[in-house]
Amino acid sequence: MNLTLHVWRQKGPKAKGKLETYQATNVSEDESFLEMLDEVNEELIKAGKDPIAFDHDCREGICGMCSQVINGKPHGGQERTTVCQLHMRSFADGDEIFIEPWRAKAFPVQKDLIADRSTLETIMQAGGFTSCHTGGVPDGNALLVPKPVADYAMDAAECIGCGACVAGCPNSSAMLYTSAKVAQLAVLPQGKGEAKARVKSMTDALLDEGFGNCTNHYECQDACPKGINVKFIAKLNREYIKSLV
């Protein structure tokens, strides 16, 4: 199939960006979206032009590196799918495709489709851990975690930290991202001791880093490639209130 791409090109963080148009020709439906972009880049390089810079690494949907807004939807809008797992069979011959970087005040664009997501790191450093030392911990079975609790924690822990929730949110809130870690550690016996301090410091960091607040649009859940549920935001809110009393 043949496609027309409109791609956000921006030379650097301070440069002004704009959409440029490219043709992708002879695209096979078995290719992934990023392989299609690889081919476009090969042509650009041969023509002596700067290829499109984009983040990617594992190309199997788990590292969270890839981050593109495709036709207005983070990761292309297919359910539980990262850009790298999006395949060209979801498009039709002659389609026009708009490709942009994550857009949020807290994610400044570095080049083309690459955004700086280090603000997500700051939130995690604020308290996304249990303060255990290496060594000197009890036997793994000393802390019993019944399956429903372990499953709930795992549902939250599946977050890959890509930032699609932020890109999808009209407020550019990182609430789903933050809540997933708060909820995971709040229900596990290992994390309960620090639950109050954690929810406070992580939400403080979220606001300090320029993310918006949550006003229940649920766009984050829609955009999340791992299906993280907004129920964790409710859990965060409960943990937050508990921390005040």
């Binding site: 690494d57 395949h87 851990f129 036997d139």
Partner: protein, 638 residues
């Protein structure tokens, strides 16, 4: 030179405990005077950096991704082994030790493997304390499964994302240390040189991938935990950014590269779909617990829908060849068996390079819901890539390069032959011998990071003066100039071929000639082709853009330049090792029924290669391997 692995002597059961006591310590108030550089933030590097930081050292950690959480350890699916013996099924530290030595085809160092088996239990406790949501039963106890050729259930798992969850545990520990100020992380930074002063590792030179700036960092010790090199095959299950660059640049500064020919080809990957493919996707081999591998008995049935091939015309080749292990035969054996069937013209799918993995028997036995619960995410992944429903139609799988058992040579302290240079995780060669067992990579990465490096690096530091060499030493300036010169050289070529094209070309040679079956002729063919591609690269590659900006082509070009040198050493190692063992299969050395034939008399050693410049003969150094606790035996899974 005969290398000494410095393994402790005496009864192996006490070897690590005794050795820990014998090692020197650094006084708590002196720790803050030392600086340690850690390259790579996967399981080994992340865990190591966090633990060394917690001990009180100043740690600078480096990764090429934008976050430590994205290292490729994250992609490991199946699980992590430990000798907890919770299911009461006969497991023990000794059995894990035995299985790992045997699984590695008797090409690993006994003492290192014992230590790994011993600390495996601490790893599970540590990860639980971090909040890793391992699978549990309704009472709350940790769940186990059997995995990858083990006859006991010793594998702990977190759905199909065990690597992710363990890495996030290490990442959380690292975040805690970043907050505490003991670890400074340098993301989007790639190591391009090792700085060696008077024969001792004293720093690294890196490129800031955002600004293109080249800078040096000094350290009292350098830890490389930069992963494996199977992207030398171009198509592999590794992430796109995985490369040999960090370890190879250290090799160019004198570190020996051990057993590079030991590469693991994983049996359960999704077959290649076309020429434009950029990577291969692995599905956890836990699928083989319930899936049965087969191909049609008759070549003419290969084009048929699998449902139209009657039971009696199917060849369940693993069950036929290995009745006691069946579909759970270890990776190297299962991969080679799949290749044999396809070479026999009985493969299925595009290009007839695929075999079926069929769940029908299991679905009939336990129901589709149970299968969904066990492997749902893998079936989903399979469907996304192939557009086929694995519940309805058998999956198609084919082996793909997956893991490197070889790596920089290290002694028992995980220190290379360059004092002060430590190597951990997949980047070193130490414990997997010629073949790694499933669920053992996560175990090794975390063992090295949490429980080995903190002791052995401290022991080294206790013997040196902190900050004796800093980045004002002339070697640092020289290193920066060398790195800058190479980048300028690359950008000046301005030829006609892209980095991607040339990497594909190298990969094709490596896969066809140095892949699952190697012969004297194929290896010599590769040795002819690799220098040709290398010359083509240095004369005709085209890289657009500039040095002082975010330039992904330039990054890829540097990595390919290293693969083009390294590939030759890998091939020479394969040619010199006139035996078949584990992942290294030489067609000249097989039994009448096609099984690997080791030559213990002549090859029970680690081959550690000293690089002498591209195109020159590397020098071989040997570390003899001694088996005092396990008798050398033919590895049989029949």
């Amino acid at each position: 030179m005969i290398l000494d692995g410095k393994a402790p002597t005496g009864p192996i059961e006490n070897s690590w405990d005794k050795h820990r006591f014998d090692m020197k310590l650094v006084n708590p108030s002196n720790k803050r005077k030392y600086k340690i550089l850690v390259v790579g933030t996967g399981l080994a590097g992340g865990a190591g950096a966090a633990t060394l930081g917690e001990l009180g050292y100043n740690v600078d950690a480096f990764c090429y991704q934008d976050s430590a959480r994205r290292a490729h350890s994250i992609a490991a699916q199946g699980g992590i082994n430990a000798a907890k013996a919770y299911p009461n099924d006969g497991d023990s530290i000794r059995r894990l030790f035995y299985d790992t030595i045997k699984g590695g085809d008797f090409r690993a160092r006994e003492a290192d493997v014992w230590r790994l088996s011993q600390v495996s239990n601490n790893i599970i406790d540590q990860c639980v304390a971090q909040g890793v949501p391992f699978a549990r039963d309704y009472a709350g106890y940790l769940d186990n499964r059997s995995f990858g050729g083990a006859q006991v259930s010793r594998t702990f798992f977190a759905r199909g994302q065990t690597g992710q969850q363990l890495l996030l545990g290490a990442y959380a520990a690292l975040a805690r240390q970043q907050k505490a100020g003991t670890v400074k992380l340098h993301p989007r930074t790639e190591m391009l040189d090792l700085v060696v002063v008077d024969g001792v590792a004293k720093g690294i030179t890196v490129r800031n991938l955002i600004t293109g700036e080249i800078e040096s960092h000094w350290g009292d010790a350098v830890v490389l935990a930069s992963g494996g090199y199977v992207n030398v095959f171009y198509l592999s299950t590794n992430a796109m950014g995985c490369s040999v660059t960090a370890t190879w640049r250290a090799a160019k500064k004198g570190a020996f590269f051990a057993n590079p020919c030991y590469t693991q080809i994983h049996p359960t990957c999704i077959p290649q779909h076309g020429d434009k493919q950029s990577k291969l996707t692995l599905m956890s081999e836990s699928l083989r617990n319930d899936g049965r591998c087969w191909v049609p008995k008759k070549a003419e049935d290969c084009e048929k829908h699998p449902k139209d091939v009657p039971e009696e015309d199917r060849d369940y080749y693993l069950e036929r060849k290995y009745p006691s292990f069946g579909n759970l035969a270890p990776r190297d054996i299962a991969s080679r068996a799949a290749k044999e069937q396809c070479d026999d013209e009985r493969g299925v799918g595009p290009g007839k390079r695929g075999v079926y993995l069929d769940f029908k028997t299991a679905i009939d036995r336990v129901g589709v819901d149970t299968i969904k619960e066990r492997y749902g995410n893998l079936f989903e992944m399979y469907e996304k890539i192939t557009d086929e429903d694995g519940y309805e139609r058998p999956m198609r799988i084919y082996p793909a390069p997956h893991y490197a058992m070889g790596g920089l040579w290290v002694d028992y302290h995980l220190m290379s032959n360059i004092p002060g240079l430590f190597v951990a995780g997949e980047a070193n060669f130490s414990v997997h011998g010629a073949n790694r067992l499933g669920a053992s990579a996560l175990m090794q990465g975390l063992a090295d990071g949490y429980f080995v490096l903190p002791y052995t690096v401290s022991n080294y530091l206790a013997g040196i003066t902190p900050g004796a060499v800093k980045d004002d030493h002339p070697e640092f300036k020289r290193s920066v100039e060398e790195v800058q010169a190479q980048i300028s050289k690359l950008l000046k070529i301005n030829g006609k071929r892209t980095v991607g094209e040339l990497h594909r070309e190298l990969g094709k040679v490596m896969w066809e000639d140095v892949g699952m079956a190697r012969s004297d002729a194929s290896l010599n063919h590769a040795l002819k082709r690799i220098p040709e591609i290398r010359d083509e690269f240095w004369n005709n590659v085209k890289i657009t853009g500039e040095a002082n900006e975010l330039n992904q082509q330039l990054e890829n070009a540097g990595r390919l330049a290293d693969f083009l040198e390294f590939a030759e050493i890998l091939t020479k190692d394969a040619l010199h090792r006139e035996e078949s063992c584990g992942g290294h299969f030489r067609v000249e050395h097989q039994t009448d029924d096609g099984e690997a034939m080791r030559d213990d008399e002549n090859f029970t050693y680690v081959a550690a290669w000293e690089f002498k410049g591209a195109g020159n003969e590397p020098e071989l150094h040997k570390e003899p391997l001694r088996f005092e606790n396990i008798k050398l035996a033919v590895r049989s899974y029949k």
